[in-house]
Symmetry: C2
Subunit: 422 residues, 2 copies
């Protein structure tokens, strides 16, 4: 038999390298699981707590529902009402052909809230899968194929599509928030597109003002995934990036998940109102946006209910409660994120102790995610805590005391540091 | 200002070319919409019909819910019960960390039905996004990086990831179902993986028996997306491909949507029971499978209810009704798909007439999808009809009569051709 064994079929690994990523990641997750900090199975108990099969109850501080809207009765009722009204979870057909009016109603409601033209998706990552390849080929920039720059800290869901974009155009990666790098490319290329998180999952934002200046001067196209700040920021919950932009220019797209603070399930793409052409291109050729998989009826009904809550005093109330909890935490526990107004905090802990500290906190009823080598450098190990609006002041205080007790006095805020906070 | 205008930043376009694809597609969709055959907005009326805002009622024959399970009361109740029980649509956290027992219960139930280890996803395309890059880097083939062959007719949701896979390994495209091409590569390479639809959306299947033989001889890895046949084929609705394989070998993965005949929302990945390692790798590093976006509570509840129906006489009943409707249609209307036992039929119509025929059928109350140049060659134009189990014999007869009446006598089956059918 004519068998020739090639030495290797390895690709260029220009944009990805699973061997390296999985090598580090597997070590991390195996350590988490063997110490009871991953692979947990637990049920919601209706009072904001989780309960495992042995009856052990704990508070999940690794959940992105920052405004606790995920369990809001009106949102759940919205899902149920939609199911009762339409009698299907998914009437399977591409929306290009036939779509239920409810989907348009949702996109209209979200468009009103966010002052944008909105196209929905089953998730923010499905939205990204739909938008980025079309951006790469120039179909969102009036035929002008842009050079694409991905921020080094852009989420995996964007980075996944680097090789796809690179089949259509030139793709570069820039250091986090490096406006000089971007401006340099704007000078060298007629059209440039920049792809980044609006709000990074470990804290910090894109430099929206600086980027808008580059957009003004060079026509820079901006693609933001602002999933972590939707609902949390902005007077109508439009998120950090949208709240920093008076009016979306022809060259700006913001994508955000509806799964986190928004409290339902799905994704939203905010498009400039001036660009009616984008909507057609996206729903016809945007991969998952065009296939027979719109947001399901329950997700649409829940999202419509959440949109109503966003347009009511309830949003401001919950945002204020979250802000107060963030300030309260910052006043007691020292983290690099102190004072940034964002609900994610990483409490520094020595790499050798981070797992045992997380275990002890879980034993005391708090699930926080340990972050340690090899997924971050040893010097950056810590416990990631995600705050929520629904935590009572007493609960935040008890959480802070538990962290200080378990981790040690070095994370406790002394009175002189405290003064500026509240 | 130091502005250098590069002539072009165009990528190699080795695997994709949006200019070409969108050029043809836009012309097609614009023609459909301007003739009222796309962009339709309509509500379900609870009796299997759709109704547009003007009160016009029609039957949707372009819906993939082949067994009409999408509107089954038990499935809708399953979704509602889960929402009531858990009180959230999506408790936003990665399943690697914490997961609701209901998700495991669903995967167990689907695993029982399909005799496989099952991992869920929000859609079949999210499953593909998770699996293919890991297959490319050798992480599903015990470290052996395979050369990958995509079938030329593989769905867009798989082709989208060709450039991603090509960054990790060598990627080729083979003519549809070309076993000689695949065998040739098996002889030249130590490990080969083949990526294909199990059941093609225009009819026809992968050559499962031939592929299993290549797997036996060369260790060929097989990746099937069998979305169009799940629930429709197999005594427990396991789909065409799974029903052709006695036991999934270490080198086989089948992905399928739960949005079509299964009647709910989501995706299922069938893995060999022997490969417990695959599940860990997929849920840790499988992109959308690892991010904070599991199937939402409503989708899980509906899917659990559908799994129960699949394990009851209801499945066989609906499959038989669908089979009868397929035979009934085949006996009256001549298509290239006649006698293939599959619910999708393309009625040949001259390219110049296909739009007006679709319009006239819609006027008579039947929405069928016109397919015409430039998305298919002029010689292959036609009307795509998707049959369902819930159509009464009288409805199928009336549909057939309407098609013959509108399209012309050339599609009518004469008695001599009819004889073998029923």
């Amino acid at each position: 038999m004519d068998v020739i064994q090639e030495v290797s079929v390895v690709g260029p690994r220009q944009f990805r390298n699973n061997d390296v990523a999985i090598g580090a990641g597997n070590e991390f997750w195996t350590a988490c699981r063997s110490n009871g900090l991953a692979g947990i199975v637990a049920n919601l108990t209706g009072d904001g707590m989780l309960e495992d099969p042995d009856g052990f109850r704990f508070l999940n501080l690794s959940c992105c529902s920052y405004l606790d809207l995920d369990s809001h009765p009106q949102i759940i009722e919205g899902a149920i009402e939609a199911l009762r009204k339409y009698g299907v979870l998914d009437h399977c057909i591409s929306r290009i052909r036939i779509q239920l009016p409810m989907l348009l109603e949702l996109e209209e409601a979200l468009g009103g809230l966010f002052d944008a033209r909105v196209v929905s998706a089953i998730s923010a990552s499905a939205a990204t899968a739909g938008v980025l390849p079309l951006l790469a080929s120039g179909h969102l920039t009036r035929g002008e194929r842009p050079l694409m720059i991905f921020d080094k800290f852009a989420h995996f869901s964007m980075n996944l599509f680097k090789p796809v974009c690179a089949d259509e155009t030139t793709v570069l990666t820039c250091p986090n928030n490096d406006l000089n790098f971007i401006e340099d490319q704007c000078k060298r290329n007629h059209k440039v597109a920049y792809v980044t998180d609006g709000t990074f999952s470990m804290g910090g934002h894109a430099d929206v003002a600086g980027l808008l200046e580059l957009q003004d001067r060079y026509g820079l196209f901006l693609y933001f995934d602002d999933s972590h700040s939707l609902s949390v920021a902005g007077s109508r919950g439009e998120g950090y990036v949208r709240s920093q932009i008076a009016s979306l220019s022809d060259d700006t797209i913001i994508v955000a998940t509806l799964n986190k603070a928004f409290g339902s399930s799905g994704g939203a793409i905010m498009l400039p109102k001036s660009r009616t052409d984008m909507e057609d291109i996206l729903t016809r050729f945007g991969g998952p946006l065009a296939w027979s998989q719109p947001m399901n009826t329950a997700a649409v009904g829940a999202s419509l209910a959440s949109a109503q809550l966003h347009d009511s005093p309830e949003l401001k109330l919950r945002q204020s409660q979250l802000d107060a909890n963030i300030l309260r935490f910052d006043a007691q526990v020292l983290t690099p994120q102190r004072g940034n107004g964002f609900p994610i905090k990483v409490v520094p802990v020595a790499n050798t102790r981070v797992v045992s500290c997380a275990q002890e906190l879980l034993r005391r009823g708090y699930y926080v995610s340990p972050v340690f080598f090899p997924i971050v450098p040893r010097s950056q190990a810590g416990l990631r805590v995600m705050l929520r609006s629904g935590l009572s002041p007493a609960a935040v205080d008890h959480l802070c005391k538990s962290i200080i007790d378990v981790v040690g006095q070095d994370v406790e805020v002394k009175h002189d540091q405290d003064a500026t906070v509240q």
